[in-house]
Amino acid sequence: MTDKNGFFDLSKTGLTRRTALKGLAAGAGLAVAPGFVRYSQAQSSAPIKIGFQSHRTGIGAAYGRWYERTTAAAVKAINEAGGINGRPVEVIIEDDGTDPGRGAEVVGKFATQHKTDIVFGTLFSHVVIGSAPAAGEAKMPYFVVSEGHHVASTKLNRYVFQPGITDVKSQIQAMAPWIAANAGKKVTQIFPDFAFGYDHRDYLPPALKAQGAEVIAQIAIPPTESSFTKYFPQIPAETEVIYHVMVGPAVLTFVKELGEFYGSNRPQLFGFIDSLEATDINSPGLEFLDGSHFWEGSPRYAQPSDSAAQKAYRAAVGIDDNGAAVGDPKDVSTAAHMFGCWETLYVVKKAMEDAGYKGPEDRAKLVEATEALTEFAEGPEHPQGPKTFNGKIHQCFGIQNISKVEGGRLNVVHKTKIEDGLYEPEGDYTSQAL
């Protein structure tokens, strides 16, 4: 038994309080001195730090939760397979509140406080657009999983990439051939009167026209609306297909009221699953959707045709055959989008390895290496399907799924080709200085 006063008793060590404090201060100073970690730890073993800008709170919280789970699963798989360039990957999460102002601050925090190698993960378009200037100014590679057309529009900057999920312009364009051939030639669009709806308003009509079909009415619904019945008489009687992309909590009311309006004799319905991500397709009020079709990036429900890579991905992320969390059937995933996190991280791994990435001083090399990528083969790293990548517009292109609501689940009835979603580039990021 030692003297109970002995351990911290400075008088017995010959140390004075002053020298002890000096020593402590010197130690603390050394620990926080720039470069301390680098000098003391071989760079080859220091982790690659990825700043994850997550929608933990705000309107995007359901997406944020699943993006975090998918990211954790991908990072675990990458680390178990040896990491990136032999270095482990560490993810640092900051909540952006699904707010563009906070988003920009978070990017700044990753760049200057956490000193991450890249920033990754953002979904909502306004947060991406709000954060992009901060990423460009900090020369911080910013890999988003947003599906917005903003990256491919080349209106952002050279440091912003979207290599893991297709953009909405491509998705809409790829839907047109199937709609014209299988659902009908006369289409009425119902969409929210803000940017997400405008993408559909602007890109669908020319895509359908090219397929010999036409949009005969466009009904924009103000974002403040909570009841929709008064808009339905505007739907022309000759409508063969209603193309709907309502989003947010109002979607349940929208579907219910549409059902009450039409009864059993309705036109074909086609929608984007964005409306119902993280929502059980069997929720009360959604019965009217039975027999209708949806776009899905990656299928929510397990399909008989699922590849081994798709099965392994679903198991790793922890979703059951119905696309809900294993053990909690009410916790429905955002399956149509979240695969983008998994695939983006593997693109980052590939680009970092191609660039021989060692640290933040190699960020420009990482940008160029990412731009040099052209194809991603389907497999464990890209379970959603094969993709091509256009380095000039920093955007990938891939296959899309069209699923039918049958017996309370979504069954994939058609997979598009990559070519269905290709369009002429609108600019060239590589002409911008690094």
Binding site: R56, T57, E94, D95, G97, D99, P100, G101, A104, E105, G108, K109, T112, Q113, S125, H126, I129, G130, A132, P133, A134, G136, E137, G148, H150, K155, L156, N157, D193, F194, A195, F196, Y198, P222, P223, T224
Partner: protein
């Protein structure tokens, strides 16, 4: 409230400005960037305080003045290719004009009705931004190109994206607004505003035209908020409808209440406090707004007049 000696008050404010100037050289990179943003938003809070603190008019629509400056400056650069000073002036002009129009209409009401009317006007402004999406970028917003955010002096060009340049620009704006606010509240006009707040009927009976004075206060307040919005667009490169939403009308109210309504430095303290509470707590829990809420309750209990307001009441009666 004791009569403040002018020298003491100005010395304090110049001291705060000097401290912020000195911080430019010592702050770590992240806090340096954050403080630049806080100073710009503190200007927003100071504009709000001008109306709420000194005139006693509680507006729930000040996000429209901030975003009038934000869009006025941002869209002038994006669509018209204007230079930074011209765009900043455009932002100010938009804010001043909007404040004049809104003031004329909203000042026909008072109390709760004033809150509702200002909130409704702000909602109209917000929905107009969404409606004219082809110009404003709608809810997604627009990026102000990095190449356009440059101050040109003859052959010298200074990029506002440079951290030091950005910090100094924010400090210059903050300092000007702080000193102008101090001068206004110490002036005869400032006394009239306080008189209106304390007893409008009596002020009228003393022969003052309270409507004109209040209208002038709305315009000054709106212009200051627009200056903050214009600076935000030019310094941080993004304009978006989120900044016109009701949340950004509530925030300056919270910042001012926290720091101390009707104190010149309160808005800075409140903005600083709120920013750091959110920044630190969000690193530990996604329930950080709960912590913010608890902090607010504690402040109301122990600092009912805000941080500086309570300090003034208890210890430093001369604080302006």
């Amino acid at each position: 409230m004791k009569e403040a000696s002018p020298a003491k008050a100005y010395a304090l404010h110049l001291g705060v400005i000097a401290l912020l100037f000195a911080l430019n050289f010592v702050l770590p990179e992240y806090h340096h960037g954050l403080l630049a943003r806080i100073m710009v938003l503190a200007v927003f809070a100071m504009g709000y305080n001008m109306l709420f603190g000194y005139v006693g008019l509680l507006s729930l629509g000040h996000a429209m003045f901030f975003s009038a400056g934000l869009y006025g400056a941002g869209l002038a650069v994006i669509h018209l290719g204007w230079s930074v000073p011209a765009a900043f002036a455009a932002g100010l002009a938009c804010g001043a004009l909007l404040a004049l129009v809104i003031g004329v209409l909203a000042l026909r009401t008072s109390g709760v009705a004033f809150m509702i009317v200002t909130m409704m006007f702000a909602q109209v402004f917000y929905l107009m931004i969404l409606y004219f999406a082809s110009w404003t970028g709608g809810d997604q917003g627009l990026v102000v190109p990095q190449s356009a955010r440059v101050l040109v002096f003859g052959s010298t060009s200074l990029s506002l994206t440079n951290p030091t340049m950005r910090y100094m620009s924010a400090l210059v704006l903050f300092s000007i607004v702080l000193l102008v606010t101090l001068a206004v509240v110490r002036s005869r006009y400032g006394r009239v505003l306080v008189a209106i707040r304390e007893n409008e009927e009596r002020t009228k009976m003393l022969g003052y035209d309270t409507f004109s004075n209040k209208l002038a206060a709305v315009v000054v307040s709106g212009t200051i908020c627009a200056a903050s919005g214009a600076a935000y667009a030019l310094l941080f490169g993004y304009v978006g409808s989120t900044f016109a939403s009701v949340q950004y009308s509530i925030l300056p109210l919270l910042w001012v209440l926290l720091g101390g309504a009707a104190t010149t430095l309160g808005p800075l303290i409140g903005t600083l406090f709120m920013y750091y509470v959110v920044d630190i707590t969000s690193g530990y829990t996604s329930a950080y707004l709960l912590i913010v809420g608890i902090a607010l309750i504690l402040l109301v209990l122990f600092f009912p007049k805000g941080i500086l307001g309570t300090i003034r009441q208890r210890w430093l009666g001369w604080l302006p």
